[in-house]
Amino acid sequence: MTDPRVSGGSRYAEDLQLPGMLHARIVRSPYPHARVLALDASAVPETCVVLVPDDVRDLALYGCQIQDQGVLALERVRYAGDPVAAVAAATPHEAEDALPLVDVDYDELPAVFDAVEAAGADAPLVHERAVAGGAAAYFAMRPQPGTNVCHRFRIRHGDVETGFAEAEVVVERTYRCAGAQHASMEPHACVARWSDGLLEVWTGTQTPFNVREDLARSFGLPEERVRVVSLPMGGSFGAKTFVRTEAIAAALARKAERPVKVVLPRSEEWLTLNRHPATISVRLGARSDGTLVAKQVTCHADTGAYADCGPGVAQKMGFAAPGPYRIPNVWVDSFCVYTNLPPNGAFRGYGQMQSTWASERALDALADELGIDPLELRLRNVLREGDRYCTGETMHDVRFAECLEAAARAIGWYEGREGKGLSLVMKGMQTPSRAAVAVEAQDDGTFVLRCATAEMGQGARRAISLLAAEELGVDPSHVRFPDADTAVVPYDTRTTSSRSTYMMGRALVEAVRELRRSGGRRGVGEVSDQGGLDPDTGQGVASTHWHQGAAAAEIVVDEETGRISVSHLHTAIYAGRVVNRPGAELQTEGSMIMGLGTALFEEVAHVDGQVINANLSDYATPAFADLPDRLTYDLIERPGAEIHGLGETALPPVPPAIGNAVASLGIELHDLPMKPESVLAAAEKKVGERV
């Protein structure tokens, strides 16, 4: 059978057509922060259906971790792009033509666009109050009343001041990461339909059950009255999570009494969800022999105008910040901060790219001060089997040193380290988390999987089907995996954090065992991982299972133009066991290439709260021409090991490996992306210091 991806037969949410369906476009605020004084849609032709504030006043606020977002912004808009109305018409063009006919009066308010500034006492408040809850709020929220901080996460381990008193060398640095856009080739798309009080939504989403919960909450329905079908996605990388355009589609469909489809124009992707910009300050101390004694990290994650899963991102940014090292005294404060920028949320790496950038750059700065080789410094302190992390959890199946050594070998670390850099990453997997799958035997000897795992190109359905075939002892062609439909699949936390192959793989073993034991036609398996962290002390279990990897880069800097050319990029990733070889390779290569974009040029640029590069020409994503001369990797396997998800691990270590390689030439960069102008400025500084 020809793969539909090569025959042109792939279908995504944007392709779905329902009888009588209308097409929607969204009216957005031009101001980053303003009161809405009046909204007049009377000029819109009667052939269109317009969604105005009065149509949504009965709908509750939604939000996966903090309920702070309305279907439309009512009295106040909080970012340039906040939806204030929507139009549905027979064609997208007709809906588009009606947008300027919606007349809105605004009164502009002071706004804030930087997380550190926004966390201060005098900053304008983006939200007066918001309520936390829901299945995706898997930890206690710690909003800081009277400020824009919607969550504060802390780690308190040992006594950090005593630790610094023991230190003979201390480095202190502040690092920044720009926002980034997921830029999936397929934009956000969904279709909503109401039938007899049942809300049905077909959407490209990684989180069908979270979308169901939030829509049910907003529309005041029992969850069983909302059906969410997750269609295969043309890429997502975290963007197609939780409620994006689904609530507007549902509200419009309710008013129109017809199905309504939303497909976002490309430019509106930047107004819907980006990656958290972050400012991270690191203070790191060691004895002169290189033994780490204390680390203090402060993270400010800019979550934009609505929290989305920002609290979770800030928490993971915080708990990954100490890095995979034995440090007796650790102090972390990580703040999730509202600003008047478009919302930021899940993005491949989930906060851990940002803290890995800061921590791994700081470690090289420390190595430089100590006069110790950065590889030696890492190996001297790296977590090993049975060590306890600063959260108190005991680490198992620990492979950091192995990853690091493999990465160093790949670039010939000991043959001269000019232009070479290394870095390590520890990345948590969603904890706590639940997964379940049902295996149904068909009359023709085939099997159907009822499973919520979403397909976005990462090959999860292929991997899970291969595992099912192995458990069932049948050829993979005998296993079918239909699109996840919340009406028929058992509950699953969501397809995020590189958890699905690992979690569903274990649930499958249970399901097949149950199928055999019952002698029936259906077996259901469920697994549940417990854990979580106290947000005030950071103690507990951050992750039942750590993703581990290292990156190595070899670069050349053109000091005339400031251009960084990567001649060799290598990652060494602990896979445990590879289930689907081509999928594992593709996810690793894709993560590395995305990491390269993050390292060198990807940046959501804004001026006065307006995104100024919201198109794929001004916002560059890596193309063929950007590939390193050599792109190589090791997927490390061990007999009997657990499956380790590979969806993200190879991204976070790439920017610091490149940054450390650049630093080996005396060019110290603190901010991502490492643009030619920053390289030139830093190179000039280097020359200045020499003089």
Binding site: V6, S10, R11, E186, M233, G234, R266, L616, F624
Partner: protein, 148 residues
């Protein structure tokens, strides 16, 4: 308008101001042609116009009048380039794949045995956000090695 699409003469309804992308999707349900950037920089909507790759989002439909348009549906499904993409696993989400395949088809007509560097240059107008690039280069090399 009259246009030859995937080997068949078609009489299509099209406005003067719409793109061939919109017309192919609406009138013929050729859904492999997809709008990703809308400004001709990503290659996802690539179609062949008289054999030359063009961005479907930029080509005004009337400009295709009397000419031949090929989409990936017009290949037979086991075309050597399609086969090579499948064999090399040269895709993840698959959204950019039709454009990649059509661009590669034209490249191999012009240059039957390209080097990896030539492939990267020739395909530089096609973006893959999943980052399947190295395997796409492998696929094109594989197709070049077989009969095209």
């Amino acid at each position: 308008m009259r246009v030859r699409v995937n080997g068949f003469e078609r009489e299509l309804d099209a406005r003067a101001d719409e793109s061939i992308l919109d017309v192919l999707r609406r009138e013929l349900e050729l859904l492999s042609v997809r709008e990703a950037c809308g400004i001709g920089v990503c290659g996802a909507c690539t179609v062949l116009l008289d054999g030359e790759p063009v961005s479907g989002c930029l080509l005004l439909a009337p400009l295709a009048e009397g000419r031949e348009v090929t989409t990936v549906e017009g290949l037979d499904g086991s075309h050597p380039v399609q086969q090579a993409f499948a064999d090399a696993h040269a895709f993840q989400c698959g959204y950019c794949t039709p454009g990649m395949i059509l661009t590669a088809c034209r490249l191999l007509e012009e240059s039957p045995h390209p080097t990896a560097a030539e492939i990267r240059t020739a395909m530089s107008g096609n973006l893959c956000r999943c980052g399947s690039y190295t395997k796409i280069v492998d696929a094109v090399l594989r197709a070049a090695a077989g009969p095209v």
